[in-house]
């Protein structure tokens, strides 16, 4: 192991689901304490902490410290939409790379069980009905529903439909089949919020939210937390053989935002920044897509998973439909995608997601994934995207020991 490499030393995710009796600090503390135990270190070893809770009040990192250990280290509270967890992890990694410390902690937590539709809506601008132009568009009222949709299901539906317009073949049934795959995968994941296998008919005939996304094709709002301990290669060399054996190499850690594109002001462009991040990640890691044994990608909606096959270069450009239809992305295929069940069934407690997907990949690379183990997994990729936009990609590799 090179001294300037970065490793995941310990990592943990809570079961995703409903926790009416626990608050975000409880869930995050559970994740932190367990990640530290998994790393076989304590808060005393940690030199930097980054924390995120997108829907929270701010200052979540300090609130967690008061429950797990106040040691005076710097805390970075981060907020980057659905990429918040990945951003927290990357913040801790950057501090280590900068030489400020040799061990860092990242944690993401969210409570979303029972929260309805995300995005869109808005409150009337005044009590009296008065058409007064306001804001950067000079709009006289809330335009969600009058000028397209601002809600997440419709936004990502259009992302998938646009792919269909460009390349063809992206039918309602195809998107539903992607969801069928992820729900089937979830049956092997005891930490998923929903573990029920659903037939194609059940998925297509469920409540339509925003065509072509029915309810099971949308990410599940739920509660959950995930935390990771990262360490420098130099420090890892001084730790036990057991710690070195279970450490997972972070071969690439990338974060991008969306560069200007013609249409990005009317429909968020989730493609360009993902493609750029993927290219940078493969270069940094020195691996190609064909080297990957599993991928956890951001299937916030079934329509999104399709376009990311292409953006992550898992298939030929424009070939995502044929790629999916070949069966490649099922857990027994050539490129298993979202063997955790994905956000559609595992759930999507927003700030936890960007660390939980890394936990899933690490679990397989360590050979600890039990019945859902992808046999012989050596390299994996975890991807998240938050609208606005931010894309985080991490490529992870099994320890050489």
């Amino acid at each position: 192991m090179a001294t300037d490499d970065i490793y995941i030393l310990g990592i943990y995710m809570t079961k995703f689901g409903k926790y009416p009796d626990k608050d975000t600090v409880d869930l995050a503390s559970e994740a932190v304490i367990a990640a530290l135990a998994d790393a076989q270190v304590t808060m005393k070893d940690i030199g930097v902490m980054a924390a995120g809770c997108l829907m929270g009040q701010g200052g979540i990192g300090q609130m967690i410290q008061k429950q797990v250990g106040q040691t005076g280290i710097p805390v970075y509270n981060v907020s980057n939409a659905c990429a918040t967890g990945a951003t927290a992890l990357r913040t801790a990694i950057m501090a280590i790379k900068a030489g400020e410390c040799d061990m860092g902690l990242a944690v993401g937590v969210e409570k979303l069980a029972g929260v309805g539709l995300l995005g869109g809506g808005g409150t009337p601008k005044s009590k009296n009905k008065e058409w007064t132009p306001q804001g950067r568009f000079g709009s006289v009222t809330n335009v969600d529903g009058l000028i397209g949709t601002a809600a997440m299901p419709g936004t990502f539906a259009q992302v998938g439909m646009e792919y269909g317009h460009k390349y063809g073949g992206a039918t309602f049934e195809l998107f539903a089949k992607i969801s069928e795959k992820n729900h089937a995968h979830s049956t092997l994941n005891p930490l998923a919020a929903y573990t029920k296998r659903m037939s194609l008919d059940e998925i297509m005939n469920d409540i339509m939210i925003s065509y072509p996304n029915t309810r099971p094709m949308c990410s599940a709002n739920c509660d959950g937390a995930a935390a990771a301990v990262v360490v420098s290669g130099a420090k890892l060399k001084t730790l036990s053989l057991e710690q070195q054996r279970r450490a997972i190499k972070v071969s690439a850690s990338i974060l991008t935002s969306d560069p200007y594109q013609e249409a990005c002001q009317v429909l968020p462009d989730v493609n360009t920044l993902t493609r750029i991040a993927a290219k940078q990640a493969y270069e940094q890691a020195g691996v190609s897509p064909s080297d990957l044994n599993l991928v956890e990608l951001h299937d916030c909606f079934a329509t999104a998973e399709l376009v990311h096959y292409d953006n992550l270069m898992l298939c030929e450009e424009g070939g995502a439909v044929d790629f999916f239809n070949s069966g490649a992305t099922w857990r027994d295929g050539s490129m298993p995608v979202n063997v955790s069940g994905g956000l559609e069934s595992k759930g999507h407690p927003i700030a936890a997601t960007g660390i939980a997907n890394i936990w899933e990949v690490c679990h397989h690379l360590r050979g600890e994934a039990g019945p859902r183990q992808i046999e012989g997994a050596k390299v994996g990729l975890a991807h998240v995207i938050g609208l606005g936009s931010a894309c985080g990609i991490h490529i992870l590799e099994k320890s050489a020991l």
Partner: protein
């Protein structure tokens, strides 16, 4: 003359031939419907008003059947390619079903009333109908 109508957004121009306008960067030609401090593409700060053509094709759409409180459903949200400028808008005068709305369909701008406010001022919205 008293103003009796107001557009839903300030990039909708009313009158005899309603149309959309955009703020176009004088350096690189990038177009924005909202007020910009500088161009997101080339960082220049000079913009001019340009007219967007009323005809376009549907590049993407979704039929929204579940929305935030107060947003009537169903409606068809779409991205329209109007001569190379992407526009966000609802489809109008078409049944909100996947049988009737298709990718690539030709559409044109139309306007409709959102009703009058307490002062008698009428707001006018826009959408795209099959051409």
């Amino acid at each position: 003359m008293t103003i009796t109508q107001v557009p839903l957004v300030d990039y909708l121009v009313l009158g005899d031939s309603p149309h959309l306008i955009a703020n176009e960067c004088t350096k690189c030609g990038a177009r924005y419907f909202d007020r910009r401090n500088a161009c997101a593409s080339c960082f220049a700060t000079d913009f001019k008003k340009v007219t967007i053509v009323n005809e376009g094709i549907v590049r993407s759409f979704t039929i929204v059947t579940f929305a935030a409180p107060g947003v009537p459903v169903p409606f068809v949200a779409a991205i329209i390619d109007c001569g190379g400028t992407s526009v966000r808008g609802n489809l109008a005068n078409v049944e909100a079903t996947p049988e009737k709305v298709t990718l690539g369909m030709k559409v044109k701008l139309t306007t409709y009333s959102l009703g009058a406010d307490d002062n008698g001022l009428e707001a006018i919205g826009f959408g795209y109908e099959p051409a």
